[in-house]
Amino acid sequence: MQGRKKQNMIELKNVHFSYESATKDTKLALNRINLKISCGEFVAVVGANGSGKSTLAKHLNGLLIPTSGDVLVLGANTKCEEDSIFIKKNVGMVFQNPDNQLVFTIVEEDVAFALENLGVPQQEMRERVEKTLSQLNILEYKNASNAELSGGQKQLVAIAGVLVINPKFIVLDESTAMLDPQSRDDVMCILKKLNSELGIAVVLITHFMEEAALAERIIVMNEGKVELDDSPRQVFKKLELLESIGLSVPQVTKFCHELNLLGENLPLGIVDENECAIELAKILKGPRR
């Protein structure tokens, strides 16, 4: 860690990765990835099954180490053993199934767990847990048992367990996949708030295009490579490309696209229901002769 330049980003330089497996010819799960994710960003990662999203995510906090190339977290190389605590403190991970992530039965204990591991004193620990729970609007469940919570609430507890260590980055691997629409909205709202108010960078892996549309930037993975890296509007303009690599676009984007194919004249890359309605209204009001 000594002598490294202070940087405010996670940088992937020429990262290759293959899961060594004796039975398979070494297929690359990540193939020459070059990426920068800065502090304060809100990035979505999308891609077909097996395209390398989870493998990428696990590189961001050193759970996996590149076969070749480097990952620098705020300047620290994930290859350096002695930086691993620094990296884990700064990059928190939340997975799909909250049940696999919650270890204790009581909410408070669960959130405190990470701090205990870092040797934070009791008093400070209690204060930080309370603060985190109230930031996520779940302070009332402090003494609840995890079993009493809904899936969405459990996922918020899992996020609290990561947030409490004050990371600069939170990486969520399909963390909303098992949630009902309301819980999904709740989690997204909280992530937006953490991002805008606390400046925490969010990296959100998702198969919901509607959710990806809420990010500032979308990284599209395809067969271990970055296929696109752009704003939602630009990415979702490329419907044909996305469909050819197993992806799609939000439902209203698809609708506008289909109307265009039928001769209507709607702007490309509409991702929001409101905007869609307004554009439809423009057409109905009067054809652009």
Binding site: S21, N49, E174, Q182, S183, E243, V252, A277, A281
Partner: protein, 281 residues
């Protein structure tokens, strides 16, 4: 036909963490129906469907399949009802993809040629490449594991196919293709399909009848179009309507006389109908 009669299920009965997951549920699933089950996480959906082949037994009440009580027939060895569990990890235990998918057909005592045929058919059904047959299912990505879990049930060709959030974790193409295959299979073979889903767009597109669960009780039941006519009720219990329906409701708020739509197809028809009426004025 499967009938739920006054089914109540209580987890950890009598303990401090007792949980009533189903509370006096009465339901009927006709042969050849395509039914959707929606509800918040924790509302009891998974508990409900696991009663269908005796994986779970009711605390009180009973489940009848063609008039016979399913819980008497023995533990889960009911090839008529195939359940894809919500969490693929709960279902996967073999060392290779082939063994995993062949497990069901083997238990059905099919001959080896038929087993191979079934495995190939099921792999194709869920869009998995043949070159992973000898791979360990544990070395696959999340979505690939999900496909294995679906394939292993499809390989048994059950009369009743129960899918608990089958598309969560699947990529867009996987969602669309697998549901389309299931739909075609249902039409052709008259298979009963029960689909638990949080994805309102897919419910609107494939399901005929919807059952809404709320805190262990069935609180709404009806044709899919009837259910999605009630956005406020749905939102109150944490659910929603498809995105295209939201856009059309907004269009209505802007003063246009549009009907409610729930699928892209309905939306297109309605848009052009409206456009034509307005032009004729």
């Amino acid at each position: 036909m499967i009938v739920y009669e006054n089914v109540t299920h209580i987890y950890n009965r009598g303990l401090p963490n007792q949980q009533i997951a189903l509370d006096d549920v009465n339901l009927r699933f006709e042969d050849g129906e395509f039914v959707g089950i929606i509800g918040r996480t924790g509302s009891g959906k998974s508990t409900l469907v696991q009663h269908m082949n005796g994986l779970l037994k009711p605390t009180t009440g009973r489940i009848l399949m063609d008039g016979k009580d399913v819980s008497i027939k023995g533990l889960g060895i009911n090839f008529n009802v195939g359940i894809v569990l919500q969490n693929p990890e709960d279902q996967i235990f073999e060392q290779t993809v082939f063994k995993e998918i062949a497990f069901g057909p083997q238990n059905m005592k099919l001959d080896s040629g038929e087993i191979k045929r079934r495995v190939a058919m099921a792999m194709d059904f869920v869009g998995l490449p043949k070159d992973i047959l000898e791979t360990s299912p544990f070395d696959l990505s999340g979505g690939q594991k999900r496909r294995i879990a679906i394939a292993s049930v499809i390989a048994m060709q059950p009369r009743v196919l129960v899918l608990d959030e089958p598309t969560s974790g699947l990529d867009s193409a996987g969602k669309k293709n697998i549901l389309q295959r299931i739909y075609e299979h249902h039409k052709k073979e008259k298979t009963t399909v029960v689909l638990v889903s949080h994805n309102m767009e897919e419910v609107a597109q494939y399901v005929e009848r919807v059952v809404v669960l709320e805190k262990a009780k069935v609180t709404m039941e009806g044709k899919v179009d009837e259910i999605f006519e009630k956005p406020n009720e749905l939102r109150k219990i944490g659910l929603d309507i498809p995105r295209i329906s939201v856009a059309f409701l907004k269009l209505k708020e802007l003063g246009y006389d549009v009907k409610n739509v729930h699928t892209l197809k309905q939306a297109k028809t309605e848009f052009f109908r409206l456009k034509k009426t307005l032009q004729e004025r």
